[in-house]
């Protein structure tokens, strides 16, 4: 909370530490964009955090370190097992949860700031607050509070503590817009008269409320976009804190995060073919409704036994595996790797086509497969590249994927998926689809791929079906 004026040498050290922290954050983010340097980047960002904390601990306003040290220790004790235990499939809800914690901190800091400025201190005076600072603190608690409840809601939906379906009531959008308007009005009052305590607490309360009412109507599957957007909001809250207490590290880290979260939600929205506005306005609205296409008589999908499928896989020259959300649900990645290695031992080439929005967060399947030790050289993460490889593939194995291989995205203008870039497994010789039953994907629409002539279904849980395939291929060998 340094004010303007000549710098003491202590201030100089603090400022140098902060500058270093900022540089580490930026370098870290930059390294994070390259697969071979990503881990280094993460460490640089962590170093940035360390320096930021050190710089703050040197702050002359700090009189007692007791609670700080206990707090840090408790945080570490809570955080460590959390991070070590969580399964990779639960990544979205984990991020939402951890995120809510950071937002709580930002919000509380805002409250402390405001209270401090408008409490009569020992010397009997009240410091008060300029309009500029009031604006910053107001933004801080608004975005902070919104992120707290929003993140918890997202967590609840993903963890299925709350109903995943969109929860709506008539006039919901109008209601939310009114809430937002009132929140910004109160913020305006606060800026005009920083001493208007009621305005401050109204902003805070509405922030909490908005987080709930804006996330409730959004379907569980849309949560990753919401989380990413909340990430962006949390960044803005951090930047606002920085404006309020005059701390550049906060401003910079917050801006980086704000930009990052925003771009990730854009990327997701694009890959999911949702409109930009849909995202910017807090992913208002609900998941696309099921298409009501009425067709002729519905063809029944053809099936294939694990034994026959295994034979074809054993003699295939080129196999492409398309994993989807179901692979994560079934935790089938390790078995999948076994299959992969078996096929390669028999001389086939295996690659994975990873759709940008396969799973429930961007790049989710990359993490799941990496967890099983599959190296990322085998992953085709570009849709066009993957489609080129599919043209010459002998066998495609689709494991728990649905929307990302739905041909309606290209053919049916009325489909909610229309326009989303998809994989084209039907251009390969034959595709096996592994899923539990007739369940639809995230979008809730039927998939005409399943009734194509060269598509064969293998019903069952992803992990056990792949396990069977592995067994059958091994049996083939022994049979010889």
């Amino acid at each position: 909370m340094s004010e303007l004026g000549p710098l003491s040498s202590r201030d100089l050290i603090i400022q140098a530490t902060y500058l270093l922290a900022s540089i580490f954050f930026i370098l870290g983010l930059r390294s994070l964009t390259r697969p071979t340097q990503a881990r280094l980047g993460m460490q640089q960002a962590a170093m940035g955090m360390l320096f930021a904390v050190i710089g703050t601990l040197l702050n002359a306003h700090i009189v007692t370190y007791q609670w700080i040290i206990i707090g840090l220790a408790v945080g570490a004790i809570i955080g460590y097992p959390m991070a070590m235990k969580v399964p990779m499939t639960a990544m979205p809800q984990f991020i939402a949860f951890s995120h809510a914690f950071g937002a709580i901190a930002a919000t509380l800091v805002g409250v402390v700031e405001y209270r401090h400025a408008f409490t009569i201190d020992m010397s009997g005076t009240m410091t008060g607050m300029s309009s500029g600072i009031a604006a910053a603190v107001g933004f801080e608690v608004l975005f902070g509070a919104l992120t707290v409840t929003g993140s918890f809601m997202a967590f609840g939906k993903l963890q299925e503590l709350i109903r995943g379906q969109p929860i709506t009531f008539p006039g919901q959008n109008a209601f939310n817009i009114t809430l937002i308007a009132v929140a910004f009005l109160s913020l305006g009052v606060l800026i005009y008269d920083p001493g208007a305590t009621w305005a401050f607490y109204t902003v805070l309360a509405l922030g909490f409320f908005l987080g709930i009412s804006m996330v409730l109507p959004i379907g569980g599957g849309d949560m990753p976009v919401v989380i990413s957007l909340l990430n962006s909001y949390a960044g803005l809250a951090a930047s606002a804190t920085g404006f309020a207490i005059g701390n550049n590290v906060l401003i910079i880290a917050g801006a980086l995060e704000g930009a990052g979260g925003f771009i990730l939600s854009l990327i997701m929205s694009k890959a999911m073919n949702r409109s930009f506005a849909n995202i910017v306005f807090g992913a208002f609205g609900s998941a696309p409704a099921a298409s009501t296409k009425e067709g002729g008589p519905v063809k029944e999908p053809k099936t294939i036994t694990a034994e026959d499928a295994a034979t074809q896989l054993a003699y295939a020259g080129s196999v492409v595996i398309i994993p989807g959300y179901g692979m994560a649900v079934a935790q089938a990645q390790h078995t999948c790797r076994e299959l992969h290695e078996l096929i390669e031992k028999k001389g086939g080439k295996v690659s994975y086509a990873i759709h940008p929005v396969a799973g429930r967060m961007p790049g989710h399947l990359n993490v799941i497969l990496s967890e099983a030790g599959i190296d990322y050289g085998a992953l085709l993460t570009d849709v066009d590249d993957a489609n080129r490889v599919l043209l010459t593939a002998d066998v495609v194995v689709i494991v728990g994927a649905n929307d990302i291989v739905n041909p309606d995205a290209e053919d049916d203008k009325s489909s909610p998926l229309y326009g989303m870039p998809i994989f084209r497994p039907w251009t390969a010789k034959v595709s096996f689809v592994i899923k539990r039953g007739k369940g639809t994907g995230f979008s809730g629409v039927e998939n005409p791929l399943f009734t194509k002539d060269n598509t064969l279904m293998i019903y069952g849980d992803g992990k056990s079906v792949i396990g069977n395939l592995v067994k059958e291929i091994k049996a083939l060998d022994e049979g010889h």
Partner: protein, 107 residues
């Protein structure tokens, strides 16, 4: 005047974030999301000042809670990101690239 400088810092940093993150390959989207989540624990800085400052008992308690929450976010966020990134195996990828380069370099 100070606030104008802060605005510059904010805009420039936002631009850096924008330019840099646009280039993240899809492979790294999830780790990136979890890393930015960890960075959002930066409110720890504000929390430390609140917990350690002389702002009265209520503020110290709120500050203490803030420190706990922010520290949880930071620790959990960075650890999970590290766990995730440690799983990415680049071995064959590097080989593949070398191959491609060798092919390119062949006469």
């Amino acid at each position: 005047m100070l606030q104008i400088f802060q605005l510059y810092v904010f805009i420039l940093a936002g631009f850096v974030g924008f330019v840099v993150i646009q280039r993240v390959p899809p492979l790294l989207h999830t780790p990136l999301m979890s890393a930015t989540n960890a960075i959002s624990g930066i409110s720890l800085v504000g929390a430390i000042v609140a917990a350690g400052g002389q702002y009265g008992q209520v503020s110290t308690i709120l500050g203490f809670i803030a420190v706990v929450c922010a520290a949880t976010n930071v620790v959990a966020g960075f650890l999970i990101t590290d766990r995730m990134l440690a799983m990415f195996k680049p071995q064959k990828a590097a080989n593949a690239k070398e191959h491609a380069e060798m092919k390119g370099a062949a006469k």
